[in-house]
Subunit: 384 residues, 4 copies
């Protein structure tokens, strides 16, 4: 039976909203029951009704939705926050405090202190607060994580992460408002491409290696003249477990579409994965040839099998990955309803702590870049 | 608002059933309202209820479902038939005659005459009878079709289609019932790999080129000893518009996962596409270099844009393609409800005529193979 | 110490001549000592002298060269015949009869009977008559052959070969003399693309599988209007050892550069190789994942090691492959000079029998195509 | 007519020696006339004679060779120095001072000061002193350089270079003398993987962009315990023309074979190239799709055409690239002999200044790494 689901943000024409609706519907686990979809109240209500939400649950505003839903017996089992970054903190906090479980889009918040507060509130209230690092839902990313966890690679030595696209390369776009705000510190904060894309790659580095980022040394550049924030960055980092990290991320890499990729090198072997061809994982044991591990073949880890919906060779893509975040949450929420332990595999879904660590890493990278590449510790490695 | 949807077949553990449920849910257009999911009545009802269908619409049998649903005011707007091939004819026929619109899994029926009857009934009753050639839903397949239709390639000369996998290569599997029936003429009919996989490639050849298959010359072999039906086939064919066709299909191609691919060569250029990397289409105008056309970039055909849900570089896969078949049907059904013309782009969804042509082509290929490669006309090119 | 080498044909600007000179020089085994490089005597002599050949061995004509060289004590140890196809027979025959060892460009001759005579002469005179199927020199092709020979694939079931390019796709080229002659039966004989490119793929199918082609069924088409000979062909064939073959070859496949590839499927596994990325061989044992076998890694077959000159990852290409034909011949010639048995690995170099079998297969394919795809036996499978 | 060539180092079994002999022979421009091939005098002489060098020019030692050759009328037109790095300076210096033209293996010398002296000597003596950055000989690398030079990319913003392999990943190899010396500062100097492999990537970054490296910030790690020098490094750098650089290089990247690649991003477009598939260059103009530029097609730059020996689709590899260094030198040497200006395209061959700049960049990177990533200026950007 499907659970009631509430969505905040993701109005008409928004890509992220459409993707959340697809992902939540994919397995039939969630049914959109209430929503505040747009900053414009009228548009918000109209779009919600067009999506089939009854009038009384088609809200014009998240506060109105909180009021209207918090006491209903059929209130949403899960709230997704897909609003602009600057409102994540306020909305997520309010719903957690009202006892809702929340899936917040990345980044969790725009400051480290806010993320720490979210972590604290979620813990104190016993709420799930997930953060949508959707790429961690790919079956072969989960298989990579499982291979590392079970020791196939031995101790991890170096993780090389990359997220390069070229969609902000055109200087003629400088006045395009959809691009310009991203490089304006007043609107985008301390970092642009690292906070927007690099953060996914840093999260994957942690997710797969099972280690936390401790410190970073960064080189940020604004390759397109006139930008205040970086559109290309190189970051060296250190993780727990003595793991070395490398990240290159760029928004001016003309010809690269959505170049999120990761390579993990350990004592006993190396793994390589690319988001644009997500069904294959390349695995090379030391001293042996490279094998192509295909999603869907027999003998994969339970983590991969669980994250896969069709047989081998049928390209699974972004919706499946994203849907796995919802599948994890569905399992955790159902287990709680049923008073049982959730399937432990569902616990890998990124949570507020992961959100905090990522935000802290971005801050440390930005600080390093400002000081000429000095190594800066990531806050979460020391406190909380 | 979503429409009521009925599903026949696709019981627990069935891959095709799960995929239909995902595809129908993807855009929120259909809501599973009634079902007869399994040949075992008890299992059928129990699984339907676990999927959230109320008890009175959780049927034990398709006849029971037909009786129970045909007079309901909220009867399903669309019925999907996903049962074993041999029952497609009877079920599809019965629901069409009762005035339902139907999406039937491929092959439409197991004989040419039955397919002809389905075409006739659908026409006479003004019903939609779609056939699920799901690969035709990929955005880049639709773009290829649009490029051909608008003349980018000039006259098409040769289409080279391929569907090769190796999942039936293990002779030790000979007694595996999941494999064995496929090579038993009593259960699988006149053809195995051509009817199962080659048929998709033949359909794509027609779908993209916009031409019908007229005649074929085939070489069938049973590479694994003991099989009565072919597990590897090479087929030359001719299409309308003087287009030449080539097909290789195999179930013993060890190392090939789900190798559906197509190459289209015209006077002015050539196109190449592979199902396992569905987001890229390779295009080479005569005398120029090859371009990689990425799903999601600006400037694609309306056909491709409509079939795409996320921005470039986010791998779209099988669910999106399959979901596009449902999206086409949703548009056609809604247009009828609303008394308007459907978006003409929604009409590309394969229908009963396409189902008939494919079945006829398989029969002609099998007949050719039996007679040492003699060219055999495909029935639908002459009558109906 | 290098051996004296004679070259006939391959004049200035000829690609094949340049390639032979590079291949022969690659390992320092051969030194160009005498040549008749052009049909124009003056140009022949001038170019030979520019290449450093002394005036008295810079011939204007192959007959003059035969006269001049046959009695010299330092006469060439090897003669390469790289003239137009129609003169291969006469020249090769004459040099073999004069006791020279010969490497003849493919095709060995233009008729089956001529090829049979060359085989007979070479045998009766104890001469080496090699045929330059240069692609068989690639290290990974040799490794594939070795894997088949040592049983890694078990019994071979199906070989799928392909050689597709698009360099004759432009109808505007119809009057281009460099293209036109290829489709004129008076100049090109009974077949165009099969005789020119398909023949390499057929040879590779035999070379790797270790089997002979017995019979063929072919569909030839002239996709570009006005051509008398085929520019696209599909061929089914049967080989000894109950091996099934498939070939597609084309000159109008716009976007394909030099698409020679082969897939070999056996009881125990499958192999795939593409000439355009020749350093990788893809290997999938039944029931296992695919491995990428890289040229140059430890543990390859002696056949592959011997055919490789640099370490892994340094792309080896066409010159290396071609050079391996010369390396094989150098070893065989030196062994004879030294009165010892040659390294048996040097014997895989294609010889006159291979040349004959290929020519016979092309003839059988052409005959089949003329008779609507009837299966035709390849002459060499029965006589000689 | 071929020119006399002398080789120092590259004894029996040495890969680099064999490659130089192949590259020098490829076009017939050079003939091995004198050599001192091994540190062991007897082996040096024996191997030289086996290669066909007359006894009196088969030397046991480079000093003996210098004495023996310097006054001969037929002395080598070009001397190649392929000895261990530490002797490059002494030998190159001596031959330059004796008036020979030299091709020295990379690195030119082991210190910046020595490289500066070589540059000075070559200039003062009017000698060619080339340095063998062989990867700059690939046709598509030259085409990339030409595209940048003619402005196709507009101003270059970022160059991303990579050279990753995994051949030193096995900790069990720690005592393998072929690996161990590379991480011992007493034998290898100040840097291991950056000096050995990264230096090629840095050179390519300069070669293609046409800019010099000015300063660097580096993170060196010894991922395999017990190593004193780095086996993995991340380097940010700045070039003239306001170009930003990124380099990752590694010897522990298990599964990477010889991962030299480069991406160049400019205002108007981006280029990508990988050494392991050297015949393709990927080019994306801003706002357009990606094109695959194939070596050998019509319409390439003169730089690419000149560096290419066979038609499109015939994989050209490492020998061709390496041979292009020799082809450039042959043209320069011949032009001097003939008293004419050389083809200006032959001037792109890397010379002593390039060798000096690369050595200086490695030193600056090593110094930066020692000081925690501080930006360090590369010496050659200021003096000389």
């Amino acid at each position: 039976m499907s659970m009631n689901w509430g969505l905040i943000g993701g109005g008409e024409g928004s890509q992220i909203g459409g993707t959340h609706r697809i992902a939540a519907a994919l397995d039939g686990a969630f049914r959109l029951a209430a929503a505040a979809l747009d900053i414009d109240a009228q548009r918000a209500r109209a779009f919600a009704m067009r999506l089939g939400i009854p009038k009384d649950r088609a809200y014009g505003d998240w506060r109105e939705m909180l009021e209207g839903e918090k006491s209903r017996p059929d209130r949403p089992t899960l709230i997704t926050v897909a609003t602009p970054n600057s409102s994540h903190f306020e909305i997520t906090r309010a719903f957690l405090l009202a006892g809702f479980d929340v899936l917040c889009e990345k980044p969790l918040t725009t400051t480290v202190a806010e993320s720490q507060e979210i972590v604290r509130i979620a813990r104190e209230n016993g709420r799930i607060c997930a953060v949508n690092y959707g790429y961690s839902g790919y079956a072969m990313v989960r298989h990579a994580r499982a291979m590392v966890a079970r020791g196939d690679l031995g101790r991890i030595r170096v993780v090389v992460a990359e997220f390069a696209h070229g969609h902000h390369a055109d200087a003629a776009d400088a006045d395009n408002p959809r691009v310009r705000w991203r490089y304006d510190p007043k609107l985008a904060g301390i970092s642009s491409i690292v906070a927007d894309c690099g953060i996914h790659a840093l999260h994957l580095a942690s997710f797969i290696s099972g280690q936390e980022i401790l410190s970073l040394s960064a080189d940020f550049v604004s390759a397109v003249p006139g930008r205040e924030l970086e559109d290309d960055a190189l970051v060296a980092f250190r993780m727990s477990g003595d793991v070395v990290g490398r990240l290159w991320t760029s928004a001016i890499a003309v010809g690269r579409m959505h170049g999120l990729g990761i390579q993990v090198f350990g004592e006993k072997g190396g793994l390589r994965w690319q988001q644009e061809q997500p069904n294959q994982l390349y695995w090379t044991p030391v001293g042996r040839g490279t094998s192509i591990i295909e999603r869907g073949v027999a003998g994969l880890s339970p983590e991969a099998d669980r994250a896969s919906r069709v047989t081998v060779g049928h390209a699974e893509g972004f919706f499946g990955a994203f849907g796995n975040i919802y599948a994890d949450l569905a399992e955790r929420l159902r287990a709680r309803q049923e008073g049982r332990e959730p399937n432990p595999l569902a616990l890998s879904c990124p949570n507020a702590e992961d959100g905090l660590r990522s935000v802290a890493a971005v801050y440390a990278a930005a600080e390093s870049a400002k000081s000429g590449g000095r190594w800066v510790r990531s806050a979460t490695s020391i406190d909380l």
